[in-house]
């Protein structure tokens, strides 16, 4: 796992501004503190920060193929690289290292752009073809690894993090009110947008080519118009009819066994590393299942890590220790309280590179710090199971609302919602009907499942300048999301539709980034996610929804597949959403300091982004301790994070960079 970056000039000779490599690589040194490599020719510069995990001795990057035509900088893991290396060697390719990086170069030589279809892994990489003067970029199927691009003066900039692009001298993208409005509605930016103007992400499951006179599918904004992109993978589900058909016992049993087999394969292949591999244990089903599988199917000695909270409302330590004891792992915990969250908050936002509506990433930053302090560079987690096997309430909600929409006047049908959200029992039923009934008259609306969530979040947009409010009203982001839907989306059932939307938005845009890659890599730890193995995810997508969400029992077939490995109380435990205290985290000294600096000092507030009129009342409500609703908390954390981001990527950037920039001795220039 690593950080990558680069600059490509197709036409003119590439004169790099002073200290470009030292700045671009150095600013993301946390992604790969073990070695810093760079390579360049007259048109391209490639940079790399290495976290050594596979082939510790000879896996330095950037590296090239036999004749020096292709140069690569790569972030991630190709788990099936031994098999690929054997196949490519058989086809006549000569390997100089035993790294997965070199397997990618030869695979590209052999199979071209479609090489990615053969990779089982999590990856973002760039290959520069010196002969054709062509840059090839690729990102894994679910977007586990980040990859950002921008165009500046006819040059293409790319990097694992936005801050690497920002470090390119003269490139100063501003926080964009229209992009923040997206986050304040959908919780994420819909790809290819990011929170910054002129910075795009390569969408998950896509490759891209940058070369002169390329006439392909021109990329949608904000991707540079000259970039040609291609989708090689997206989730595919069965039709609604298949979701509802009767499934014989024998067929269900076949699926159960196959899921177990695929999950074992997915976990075992993710243990491949030349350094120790640990695992997170949240106390829930998914991470418990992963750890238990490894324990029962391999002789891997597993060490497990978890985060606990001083506040018992959020704490799951008891379950974590029960599970660790059950499978006999060596288990360590880091306890987090409100003060820790406030202390970390600015550094967390520096890593998320987007406004966040909750503080939940912060404890995960503490957790990766714990793993790293125990000398672990790699951990397995249960991320992805809820999307692949239908775990979240939004899926159950979609099923209930779809059922209700067939009898909109029914009183009993919406009452099922209180089974999903017990706290709603306190909410007046009539108001509940009004809120969750939003869009009930349009069950064929492709966004039916997500309307209540978006509707409830979107008033946050009123904290933004008119540009943001207008962009939200115009619904451009919804149009972009519509563009990503597969052509047969209207044949999907309500649960499959919700799964697709959740995978396309919240999974890649928040869970795998703000709560995933960024919090892990912020402490130089690589996460691996067995439930996002594409063989497993593709299989799960092709079985009837009724096996995954049985009545309202979430992840039913997954539970059956791992039932023999887990204690009954873990298996039957109702799903507890992972949360952390939000606005309440800032009541201490450091929190008050952050609020004073970022929400109360008028002079530095940016009128192009924020609606200044609303801030004082928000702060007053927080000071009075009256922030009870989710929405108020989201507004508070969203505003605070947005303001921190604006400063650290604006006037505060050079200050942040000063201690991170590489010294000339640290940078290792690579030759042919």
């Amino acid at each position: 796992m690593c950080g990558i970056c680069g600059v490509v000039a197709l036409e003119a000779p590439l004169d790099l501004p002073f200290e470009t490599p030292e700045r671009m690589i150095g600013v993301m040194r946390h992604r790969g503190p073990d070695e810093f490599g760079a390579w360049r020719d007259d048109h391209a510069f490639l940079g790399h920060a290495r976290l050594s995990i596979i082939d510790l001795v000879s896996g330095q990057q950037p590296l090239c193929n036999e004749d020096g035509r292709y140069w690569i900088t790569f972030n991630g893991e190709i788990f099936n690289y031994p098999e690929l290396t054997a196949e490519l060697t058989g086809l006549g390719h000569v390997f100089r290292t035993r790294s997965d990086t070199e397997a990618i170069v030869h695979a590209y030589e052999q199979w071209g752009e479609r090489c990615v279809e053969r990779f089982n892994g999590q990856f973002a990489f760039a290959i520069w073809d010196r002969r054709e003067r062509r840059l090839f970029l690729a990102r894994d199927r679910f977007g586990i690894r980040p990859l950002f691009v921008a165009e500046q003066d006819g040059r293409l900039l790319f990097g694992s993090e936005i801050k690497a692009l920002r470090a390119y001298p003269g490139f100063e993208p501003a926080l964009d009110a229209t992009a923040v409005a997206e986050v304040f509605t959908y919780w994420v930016n819909v790809a290819p947008a990011t929170a910054f103007e002129g910075v795009a992400q390569l969408p998950p499951g896509h490759t891209a080519i940058w070369e002169a006179n390329r006439h392909g599918n021109s990329a949608p904004a904000p991707l540079p118009p000259g970039l040609s992109i291609r989708c090689y993978w997206q989730p595919e589900f069965r039709s609604a009819a298949d979701d509802h058909r009767h499934v014989e016992k024998a067929e269900a049993e076949k699926h159960r066994q196959e899921i177990r087999r695929l999950l074992v394969d997915a976990a075992v292949i993710r243990l491949r590393a030349d350094v120790p591999v640990g695992a997170y244990l949240s106390g829930g089903l998914d991470s418990s299942a992963t750890a238990a599988l490894i324990h029962s199917e391999t002789d891997h000695h597993l060490k497990t890590f978890s985060v606990g909270f001083s506040d018992p409302d959020f704490d799951e330590t008891e379950w974590q220790y029960a599970m660790a004891e059950h499978i006999g792992t060596e288990h360590v915990t880091v306890k987090v309280d409100a003060q820790d969250i406030a202390e970390r908050f600015a550094d967390v936002v520096w890593q998320t590179e987007t406004p966040i509506l909750r503080t939940a990433p912060a404890p995960l930053h503490a957790l990766s710090g714990l793993a790293r302090s125990e000398n672990f560079k790699v951990v397995l987690t249960g991320e992805g199971a809820d999307e692949v096997f239908v775990g979240y309430n939004i899926f159950r909600e979609a099923k209930v609302r779809s059922f209700w929409s067939r009898q909109p006047d029914s009183l009993r049908r919406p009452a099922l919602l209180t089974r999903l959200y017990p706290y709603l029992k306190q909410s007046p039923p009539e108001f509940l009907r009004r809120f969750y009934g939003a869009g009930l008259d349009a069950p064929d609306d492709p966004f039916f499942s997500h309307r209540p969530r978006w509707k409830n979040t979107s008033p946050l947009v009123n904290f933004l300048a008119p540009r943001g409010v207008e962009a939200a009203a115009a619904g451009e982001a919804a149009g972009r999301l519509l563009h990503w839907l597969p052509s047969d989306f209207d044949r999907y059932g309500p649960v499959a539709r919700a799964q697709f939307l959740e995978m396309t938005t919240f999974l890649s845009g928040y869970l795998l980034s703000s709560q995933g890659d960024r919090m892990l890599m912020g402490n130089s730890v690589e996460g691996r996610f067995p439930f996002l193995d594409h063989h497993l995810a593709e299989y799960a997508a092709q079985i009837p929804a009724s096996l995954k969400l049985q009545s309202l029992n979430e992840k039913a077939i997954l539970k059956k597949s791992v039932a023999d490995l887990l204690p009954a109380n873990i298996l039957q435990r109702p799903k507890q959403p992972y949360r952390a205290p939000d606005s309440a985290s800032f009541a201490g000294a450091r929190g008050r300091e952050l609020v004073a600096e970022h929400l109360e000092s008028d002079t530095s507030l940016n009128h192009d982004v924020w609606n200044l009129q609303r801030l004082p009342a928000l702060v007053r409500k927080w000071q009075a301790g009256r922030m009870t609703s989710v929405r108020d908390n989201q507004a508070f954390v969203g505003l605070l994070s947005g303001r921190v981001l604006e400063k650290d990527f604006g006037p505060g950037f050079e200050h942040r960079l000063a201690s991170l920039r590489l010294t000339p001795d640290e940078l290792n220039w690579r030759g042919d």
Binding site: R434, P616, R626
Partner: protein, 82 residues
């Protein structure tokens, strides 16, 4: 301050953070316009109980009483008269 003004001020301060613009009339639905969420209703009831000394019964928690400024003013007036 009369009832209508007190209710309006509360909604503007508490749900709209001082920005009166979205409150485009006394009859617009607070829920449909996204001014108040389903949990916000409980904040509103606490306000009625504290600032007007009303006791609000479960069966009174309906949009006809609570979902617009006009409905709220009518509800408060009826309760105070009772």
């Amino acid at each position: 301050m009369d009832t209508r003004e007190a209710v309006r001020n509360y909604i503007i301060e508490n749900f709209l953070f001082g920005d009166a613009e979205p409150l485009r009339g006394d009859d617009i639905s607070l829920l449909d316009e996204g001014i108040m969420d389903s949990v916000g209703v409980m904040e509103l009831v606490a306000f009625l109980e504290q600032d007007f000394g009303l006791a609000v019964e479960d069966d009174e928690l309906v949009p006809e009483n609570l979902d617009s400024i006009s409905n709220l003013v009518g509800f408060i007036t009826r309760k105070q008269a009772a």
